[in-house]
């Protein structure tokens, strides 16, 4: 099952600050919802254990996350892969980062997720709502925390 997401967030912080935040594995990990624990592997990789409850699939999924900052500081790519209970989720996401010139920064992001195993059986609408929730919460947290550290 393949799902596609996209959206836009305006973060009330300058581009350099946003870039520094989203380039830091520990910061990004702290914005994901329902995290049980996170291990930062190196400057661009972390592993995170997340609580999942989608229909009958309940438990923890472990994800490997790789950040791939693009030269120039205008785009951040990210791959997330992992799963649990025989299910696999592969997500490739990317955000274009634009300085709005007013002290705020726009993130134009897209994400493509492919899901396999029991989690895919549950059906698009349930999964879709869950994925939307995870993504929107993550960006809302980014927005809140970058803003808060200003």
């Amino acid at each position: 099952m393949n799902l596609h997401y996209s959206g836009q967030e305006i973060v009330p912080a300058p581009k350099a600050k946003v870039w520094a935040f989203i380039s830091d594995p520990a910061s990004v990990a702290s914005c994901m919802p329902d995290v049980i624990e996170t291990t930062v592997v190196d400057a661009t990789h972390f592993e995170t254990k997340v609580k999942i409850a989608v229909g009958p699939v309940r438990g923890s999924f472990t994800f490997k996350v790789a950040l791939d900052p693009q030269p120039g500081g205008d785009r951040m790519n990210m791959t997330i892969s992992g799963g649990g209970f025989g299910s696999v989720v592969d997500l490739t996401a990317g955000a274009d980062i634009k300085d709005n010139g007013d002290g705020s920064t726009t993130l134009d992001w897209t994400g493509d997720a492919s899901m396999r195993g029991p989690v895919a059986t549950i059906g698009g609408r349930v999964l879709d709502a869950q994925a939307q929730r995870v993504i929107s919460t993550t960006f809302a947290n980014v927005k809140a925390r970058v803003g808060a550290t200003g």
């Binding site: 025989g86 592969d90 396999r116």
Partner: protein, 787 residues
Amino acid sequence: MTTTDKPRHAIGLSMKRKEDPRFIRGRGRYVDDIVLPNMLHLALVHSPYPHARIKNIDSTAALAVPGVKAVLTGKDLEAAGLAWIPTFHGYDKQMVLAVGKVLYQYQEVAGVVAETREAAHDGAELVEVDYEPLDPVVDPFEARKDTIILRDDRENKTNHIYHWEVGAREETDKALAASDVHIKERIYFQRCHPAPLEPCGGIADMNPATGRLTIYMTSQAPHAHRTVVSLVTGIPEDKIHIISPDIGGGFGNKVPVYPGYVVAAVASVVLKVPVKWIETRTENLTTTGFARDYHMDVEIGADKDGKVTALKVGTVADHGAFDAAADPTKYPAGLFGIVTGSYDFPHAFTELDAYFTNKAPGGVAYRCSFRVTEASYAIERGMDLLAGRLGMDAVELRRRNFVGKDQFPYRSQLGFVYDSGDYHATLDKALEAIGYDTLRKEQAECRARGELMGIGISTFTEVVGAGPSKHFDIMGIKMFDSAEIRIHPTGSGIVRAGTRHQGQGHETTWAQIVAEELGLDPQNLIVEEGDTDTAPYGLGTYASRSTPVAGGALALASRKIREKARKIAAHVLEVAEDDVEWENYAFTVKGVPGKTITMKEVAFAAYTNPVPGTEPGLEATFYYDPPNMTFPNGAYIAVVSVDPETGETKVKRFVAVDDCGVVINPMIVEGQIHGGLTEGYAIAFMQEIRYDEGGNHMNTNFTEYLVPTAVETPVWETGSTVTPSPHHPIGAKGVGESPNVGSPAAFVNAVMDALSPLGITHLDMPLTREKVWRAIRDAKAAKAATA
């Protein structure tokens, strides 16, 4: 339900099932009830990817789970020469645990053996498999383009498995071209699953002291499995003991050999203790043998009076990742040649191409004699489409084209010789039972009120009882079957057969056959099946073959006993053997009324007063090689109403009149028909194994793959006609599969008849509310657009 006019001793009686007291009281003994000393448990690791290379398997974390004893991978099996095993008919091979790459989602990748089932499953969760995902091919029509080759292990680099055809192509094409009327429709019989309530499982117990491997398994064919295990492993066949205990439903699902059995056996050999493997529901639905998945292009030609002129069916079959279809070796598309059905086609041709896809392998004979269900559905839907095109009543079209009762034995254009039947009489009985003419009037009134009511007919003919050894074998083993009967001194006895029941009631019906032949009490004949150390060699129970084949063996073994008993009777009665005759279930002396001896008395004499110079005792074995198949048939009529606002179909009535030849136990036959109709109903309205475009299996449990309960199940009305099979020792034809074979077309024909005022002519199963609602909505929109 009637059988024959002559009063019988045991055959034709609705005896209560001898096996039921233990099932009803929870005293059955299924594989998972068996607990052996020091037994370990096996759990399997499954691939989440439908197509991927395996880069690495890391068992470290799994082995650290308390209680985990071992983790087995494909590489371990490779060392034992068991990474691959032959498929059912031996034309392909299948992976036991994946080596190199996985070819379908949920494919078995590793096995974890532990002290408890829970620890084994916990360990399986922690086996880390590093996959490199590959693009999957899930559509057989895409597979046939050969853009992505799935099986790089095979010599031929193509996804095409085989082409099969039978009949006269040119003559059929010519006849179709010359026909006044012609229909062509792609009819898909969806992938479905037998889904027995008890999933598959086994215990392998290699005894290091004796060198003997005992396997308790959910097997519909224990002897065949013993031979296969011996051929594949090299273990001498005398060192293999298969025990198939009580089985909670098989329906063809428990015919193939699955990886769990093999891994459990290897684990037992390695660890020198018994190892149990019990499947989960999800494993059963996602990895074990599915059924159907035939895309059939059906063409029928007819003259303007509705007399059929030709039939052509071209099929694309989706076999999944391995060619593991359960068909006799010489019949890659099973008995699909029965697709001419009950009709006298002057010309016919059918061809089939099978393809690999990234889906679970299978193609088992789900309550069906090897692709007979697909064939029956194709022809019965086709006849209704033709009736619609001709503007002719579906009953009248069938009547005009039936094979007449005087035409039997009837040789069809596709090569079968039908044994017997009276299709007109069977249909007439069903029409009378349902009140057909009145129903058509009622339907006209409903239509006038804008209501959607439909009547669907299916007048099917099956071919079952594989089979004559000159045609039928599985991996070279001929498809005869066997019976062994021992009569004890006091007139009771033990009956053993090479078949293995899974709910069919053999413990009762086999006793009835022997009791009928010998004049004994069926209550005192115990029936034993499923233990290869004691039962005579047989090919097992599936494809409606038990009564046509083993039933014949039982009757003929009984007659061997009767012949010996006649000698003993003559000896006891002190008359010449020629003066003794078998009359009213006892031996009498010709012309001397009252001078009789019962079989029970003869049995006692066989051990206490044997005939001098002859062998004492009273027992016999018979291996029966049937001269032909049998051809059960029936007329089914469904009446439905469809709610135009919701698409919901209600089955208002369903009449099933079956001709299965001589009926052994009417109550059991009726039960078989009820069960099969309920499965047919589920297939028609609820069930489909679907994969999404990424190769994800979408029906992994009973919340996604629905099984009807008493709430959904319609009320079944049954009846019978009897035309005995002329070549079968007791005239029986087999019945277990008729309702599953014949009913889907009756349901679909009824719904299409209901929808016909909207211009809808065909929808593929399952006819879910959503599918029917969408079709109604689209049809109304199309009508509005042209108005």
